[in-house]
């Protein structure tokens, strides 16, 4: 059951016939695997989080975060931090209730990065 806050937050999606309250609940119940934390993967994670995907499974990439992120997720002040730590913290800005899990329910094989990939995955979850 969606909370009042979730109904407000996702109201524009819930209005869609293909989504509705039950579709938004399906999105919130999903855990999507993000395979890489490169720029395309970070943009994919950001848009999945904004769309109301409930959980993400991220790779344990501890390479240094870049100084510039054209995905728009990381801040300049994140430069040099372990990438997965910075990504998790910034994703929480986009979706405070987002969970991080090791096991996933939705694979993202063959899905492009960025909002295009998020759109394809949202569609896949709603059609399942």
């Amino acid at each position: 059951m969606l909370t009042d806050g979730q109904v407000d937050r996702f109201s524009r999606q819930i209005l869609l016939r293909e989504v509705g309250g039950s579709g938004q609940e399906e999105l919130l119940a999903a855990c999507v695997r993000v395979e890489r934390l490169d720029e395309a993967g970070r943009a994919l994670a950001l848009w999945l989080a904004r769309s109301g995907i409930g959980a993400l499974s991220l790779p344990p990439d501890r390479s240094p975060a870049p100084a510039r992120d054209a995905a728009g997720l990381l801040l300049a002040s994140d430069a040099g931090r372990p990438l997965v730590d910075a990504v998790r913290e910034r994703l929480s800005f986009h979706a405070p209730d987002l969970a991080f899990r090791s096991a996933w329910t939705v694979e993202s094989d063959g899905i492009p990065g960025g909002p295009e990939g998020a759109l394809a995955l949202v569609r896949r979850i709603l059609r399942a």
Binding site: D8, L15, L16, S51, R68, G72, P115, E116, A118, V122
Partner: protein
């Protein structure tokens, strides 16, 4: 390159991000405040920003990501009273607003001033981008003639929108802007509107053509443009 971005919301945020990352100076005009219903798709606003001015919040968020970014905010509505004065001095305008009167106002003002305009829209599962180079490509009135009757096309608040679609369309707007001001060779943007049906996943380049009788950019309009430049305001 200096771009005027109308609208700091779902389309404006991703468009501004791509432009700033490419080194474009962006001035963001939006009088609205952040609302909780914005948060599923307006990616530079968080829960703590609810009630804050959108344009200023977006400009700040861009500078947090790119400290050398040239991003300014104007907390005003683009209207008949200020449109020409606001647009003058920019190399290009991006229309990321969500209402027909502003879209056609931006179209007409840019046609009068000879400014390139990027039109973007997203509603439901459908998105579209049209790149308008005055005198070279069709304008919004060539394609759509004019505003639909009030109430005929629902707004986002009534029809809804799927969140990632605005990211795709906003990114396309930035691509079109960079093509139009950098390359001068517009490629497919020259004679087609790019569209996406997010539910089917089908992307199309819909052929469009100039209307010689277009009241905004047609031959009669061009003949009068010299007079317009001498001081007539919209």
């Amino acid at each position: 390159m200096k771009a005027l971005l109308l609208g700091a919301g779902g389309l404006g945020g991703p468009a501004a991000l791509s432009l700033v990352a490419a080194g474009v100076e962006v001035t963001i005009a939006d009088p609205d405040r952040v609302d909780p219903t914005n948060l599923s798709r307006q990616i530079f606003f968080g829960d703590a920003d609810v009630g804050a001015p959108k344009a200023d919040t977006l400009a700040h968020a861009l500078r947090e990501r790119f400290p050398l970014a040239r991003a300014q905010a104007i907390d005003v509505r683009f209207s008949r009273d200020n449109a020409a004065a606001l647009a003058r001095g920019f190399d290009l305008v991006l229309d990321a607003t969500d209402n027909f009167p502003t879209r056609f106002l931006a179209n007409d003002v840019c046609a009068r001033l000879g400014l390139p305009l990027i039109h973007g829209a997203a509603l439901g599962w459908l998105g579209q981008v049209l790149a308008i180079a005055p005198g070279r490509t069709p304008c919004l009135r060539c394609v759509f003639e004019g505003e639909p009757p009030v109430g005929e096309v629902p707004a986002c608040a009534q029809a809804g929108v799927i969140s990632p679609l605005v990211g795709v369309v906003g990114g396309w707007m930035a691509q079109a802007a960079l093509a139009i001001v950098r390359d001068r060779a517009l490629g497919r943007w020259a004679n087609a509107m790019r569209t996406l049906d997010g539910w089917s996943g089908v992307e199309r380049w819909v052929p469009v053509g100039r209307d010689p009788l277009c009241p905004a950019c047609g031959l009669a309009r061009e003949g009068n443009r010299a007079l317009d430049r001498e001081g007539a305001e919209c």
